[in-house]
Symmetry: C2
Subunit: 140 residues, 2 copies
């Protein structure tokens, strides 16, 4: 995906596509797994952590990226893989390995659509599985 593609994706959600924001989005797209602010910062030599933070917060508000809380102590981010925005159907399950502390995307494990009590209006669903990943399991 070219910078122009990213730029128009940002614009489409009302985010002015600055060089910084395109770079953050691109960096996030290159990640196989959801990454923390610190990890993104480590990948981006030029950028300031607070700037990245503000960018992520903005992208999050505008529904361009997801935030995942995996209990590792830091929020992890990933781009939305849906057409042009985040929807319930776009979301997938995640697996947190309690041994190596990595978080995997289980792209094929859909989010079960919940039956909620009346009055609750669901806009996002976090479905997080925890346990031991294949690599760590083999070493036991």
């Amino acid at each position: 995906m070219t910078s122009e593609d990213i730029a128009s994706r940002l614009s489409g959600r009302g985010v002015k596509p600055t060089a910084m924001r395109i770079l953050v989005y691109k960096t996030l797209m290159d990640c196989v797994r959801p990454v923390s602010l610190r990890e993104i910062d480590d990948k981006m030599v030029t950028a300031e952590r607070s700037t990245i933070f503000r960018t992520l917060t903005l992208l999050l508000q505008q529904g361009l990226i997801h935030a995942i809380e995996d209990g590792s102590g830091a929020v992890r981010y990933e781009v939305c893989h849906g057409h042009d925005h985040c929807s319930l159907d776009d979301q997938h399950a995640h697996f947190f390995c309690t041994v190596c502390q990595r978080t995997f995307c289980l792209h094929d494990v859909g989010i079960p659509h919940p039956m909620v009590p009346g009055g609750f209006h669901v806009t996002q669903v976090n479905y997080l599985l925890k346990g031991i990943c294949p690599a760590c399991y083999r070493e036991m």
Copy 2:
């Protein structure tokens, strides 16, 4: 539930039932919603936060309480309502209101048992719904 009942529940899982631990457990039991370390600390005038933290960590390890990450920035805790320990079946969904920042237990919304790719060994499941709670929705 009496202190003796709590004591035997702790003992049953290998936790020596000190006055402090019983108090923490009892405080947690009185909460309708999952609470953060800070919130527990505020409810317990006598206890030190680090002591509560260590107690919670211990209870967590021994499967006497659950930890919930709701994206509020702080881990929330709640007692296990299962017979004598935490099992997958014991767990239920939670709802985080993005307006009032409160987390509700949806006791009647069970955790869907996931179909995971081979090699992943699931021990815990966090199923967190986000959106707007009934009270906040009415005020919009």
